[in-house]
């Protein structure tokens, strides 16, 4: 066979897909998840430490911290979804490659 052609074919790079991008989004998802948890905890502890003795003022302060805590929970849930979406994408890609590999192996035998 024409070695030049064989070499040219061997040199073609296949597209590696978006594995690197998936990893990055996975990391961002995890950071948002834990950031949300930390924000919620901070809101909880700060709210708990504020005890001026005036119930009206304290409950107003607490409302702000409750809103902050809910925002933290929402962040955690969003981060969790982002993490799940991209980690499942990576897993499915791996699973698909395995299927192709198994398929090729069985068609050869």
């Amino acid at each position: 066979m024409d070695n030049e052609f064989e070499n040219a074919i061997q040199k073609i790079k296949t597209k590696t897909g978006s594995n690197e991008r998936d990893k990055l989004f996975e990391l961002i998802g995890l950071l948002i998840l834990f950031g949300g948890v930390i924000l919620t905890l901070i809101a909880y502890f700060v709210a708990g430490s504020q005890n001026s003795g005036n119930v009206a003022i304290d409950s107003l302060e607490h409302n702000e911290h409750i809103i902050l805590a809910i925002f933290g929970v929402a962040l955690s849930i969003s981060g969790g979804f982002i993490y799940l979406r991209f980690s499942i994408g990576r897993f499915l890609r791996f699973w698909l490659l395995r299927q192709i590999h198994e398929n090729n192996k069985s068609s050869k035998s």
Binding site: M1, E6, I9, I12, K15, N103, S107
Partner: protein
């Protein structure tokens, strides 16, 4: 023996959920002209598209020069020497002959080289360089299309219905050219509905019906089976 230039193993594919090809096995070696024959709708053009990776196989493998082509885009295969001449000429009808030749420079050949090879082999195209390709005769359009196969230095040529709509004498000329290319070491896979002309130059042939190769062998062996295959008079459809 050399690795085949093109090898299909148990290839099945289709469009959407509709299967077209079922378990195709074939190989084309250097210098081979493999003629794949069969009536309309048998899956011949689909098979060529799988070979050039314009569509992906559902199962099985397509190897070019021994390498599995999974994940390789069609344009990369074309750049290194897998040349497809599609059904319906595959030229740009709204561009002139010269402009069509410019479009052939994708595989890094210079325009001068392409023009020189084309006009030497097809002098009549040289007189119509400024003419729109769509206004050329059918034979001249096919010549323009074939000039891509001549000038881009392919190693594997995939021809779809070369004879469609052409006078027998032009078809004979074009197949003479294909035969000459094969002698230079190019592997050729040609699909045809009208079988007699291509069988004269083919080194191997197969009959494709309803997405399956029902028979394979030397052109002489297959010639006798063609009528039965096309007319469905045997248990093959």
């Amino acid at each position: 023996m050399d690795k085949p230039l093109l090898q299909l193993e148990n290839v099945s594919t289709g469009y959407g959920i509709i299967p077209v090809l079922h378990g195709i096995n074939l190989s084309v070696h250097k210098g081979d002209i493999y003629a794949l024959l069969g009536p309309n709708g048998g899956g011949k053009s689909t098979l060529l598209k799988v070979c050039s990776r314009q569509i992906d196989p559902w199962t099985g493998s397509v190897k070019v020069a021994g390498r599995l082509t999974d994940g390789i885009p069609a344009e990369d295969l074309a750049k290194v020497g897998v040349c497809t001449i599609p059904e319906g000429k595959g030229i740009f009808p709204n561009l002139t002959v010269d402009e069509n030749l410019i479009m052939m420079t994708h595989a890094s050949q210079s325009l001068e080289e392409i023009q020189s090879v084309t006009f030497k082999r097809f002098p009549q195209l040289g007189n119509k360089r400024k003419q729109l390709a769509g206004t050329l005769s059918g034979g001249e359009q096919q010549m323009l299309s074939m000039s891509r196969a001549l000038s881009t230095n392919p190693k594997l040529l995939l021809l779809d219905e070369l004879s469609m709509g052409l006078a027998p004498i032009i078809v004979r000329d074009l197949y003479g050219l294909v035969s000459h290319l094969a002698e230079e070491g190019i592997g050729v896979l040609v699909v045809e509905q009208f079988a007699r002309t291509v069988l004269g130059v083919a080194t191997r042939a197969g009959i494709l019906i309803n997405g399956k190769i029902i028979s394979e062998g030397s052109p002489n062996e297959l010639e006798d089976q063609l009528s039965d295959a096309y007319l469905g008079t045997k248990d093959n459809v």
